[in-house]
Symmetry: C2
Subunit: 239 residues, 2 copies
């Protein structure tokens, strides 16, 4: 049975402001919730139409109609859980780090989190202008990877100023990534969907890299930032 205050809390968690105020976020679907329950994330409450057989204190059985009222999805998927937003761990100054300069699309961020997980990137650094990773659409797109990647929001310029690692940036007019034989661990910056990497951040880039185009010259569009991240990460890892 769902209380009025629970309904109000969950509905408010659609908005970044309230996620930050309460320190909670929402996850939906049995598969992803099960994965998150096995992680270090702390469950606040699990609302479900069938029991998960976990600590009863945190589990609230609800009807399909109640799930429909709290779900952010058009087709609710049996359960909705509220988890505590974890405190990010300190960023390690080693390995390959992905830095995002104002990525706005939740689907893109979700895909990039999943790619970081796949390619063993421990730290994902997001400029404060990047979409919130606890946005429900991002959470749906990460498929549980969110628990295995350390995501920090910060002032990207200050972060780069303080780092001693090599800094790579993805640019349309960068060096052909396939011809670079000395890709090292460092920070790889991916820019905003419409405007790319901002001028202030570009100032810290030591090596501009790009993915060559093989199609006709007629083409004007760039690759989507998530697919570009996939290809660049693959290039760093295949060395």
């Amino acid at each position: 049975m769902l209380s009025k205050s629970q309904l109000k809390l969950i509905t408010s968690l659609k908005h970044k402001k309230f996620r930050q105020q309460y320190g909670f976020f929402v996850v939906e679907g049995v598969k992803t919730i099960t994965e998150l329950l096995q992680s270090s994330l702390e469950l606040q409450t699990l609302f479900t139409t069938q029991t998960f057989n976990i600590d009863a204190k945190n589990e609230v059985l609800i009807s399909d109609a109640e799930l429909k009222r709290i779900s952010f999805l058009t087709t609710p998927n049996k359960a909705l859980a509220v988890f505590k937003i974890p405190t990010p761990k300190p960023i390690e100054d080693k390995g390959l780090i992905i830095a995002l300069d104002a990525i706005r699309d939740p689907g893109n961020l979700g895909t990039i989190v999943r790619l970081c997980d796949w390619f063993g990137v421990k730290d994902l650094v997001c400029s404060n202008e990047t979409v919130d990773c606890y946005n429900p659409k991002v959470i749906q797109a990460t498929m549980g990877s969110i628990t295995r990647v350390n995501i920090s929001y910060l002032n990207l310029v200050e972060f780069l100023k303080d780092s001693s690692m090599p800094v790579y940036g993805a640019f349309m007019e960068g060096e052909n990534i396939y011809k670079k034989t000395n890709l090292k661990d460092g920070i790889l910056i991916m820019g905003n969907e419409a405007n790319g990497i901002s001028k202030e951040v570009e100032a810290f880039v030591k090596e501009k890299v790009s993915i060559p185009r093989f199609g006709s010259l007629q083409q004007t569009e760039s690759l989507n930032v998530a697919t570009a991240t996939a290809i660049l990460l693959s290039e760093f890892r295949r060395c």
Copy 2:
């Protein structure tokens, strides 16, 4: 000014059945429409809130309120055009061909069309179970690339039976793509989001390839099919 029959036609084009019946599809947004107007696609009618200065016969000036009524988007973008669905060209038995076995997500198909365009893949072959490429969500995701890739829907098993090209398939347990030095032009098959490549199609695969995972063993998820296509296409082209 929008007529009742125009409103009815456009609304019906949300559905594959009516797109196939009438032979039309819908494109939205000034940028993508402008790109499509410069292609070989045939315009049926352009509904716009400000003139494009094209042949007046095909342009209908409408109000913002009218655009809102016909648009498939939550935030309509100044114009909506109805184009004729082109007849696919014959598939050339050369170069690199991407074949999709029942891809269901419109965003994934749109991203793959865009990748084909970027990497100079002329023919994209879709099993009849694959989502329709004239679905409005696919069209939005392709960003105009749809005009530069020849997309054919067919019985994939029959197509593979008749082809003499090498057949590659993406599998979780395939050979490490980074270790393959002899990738040749051929057909690369990507499978359904949930079930991968079907048994009937798998029978035609000569070389199974996979993208190695670099993260922790804890991970259970595969890469999203669109990002996997990005990485595999990149590997075929970088040779």
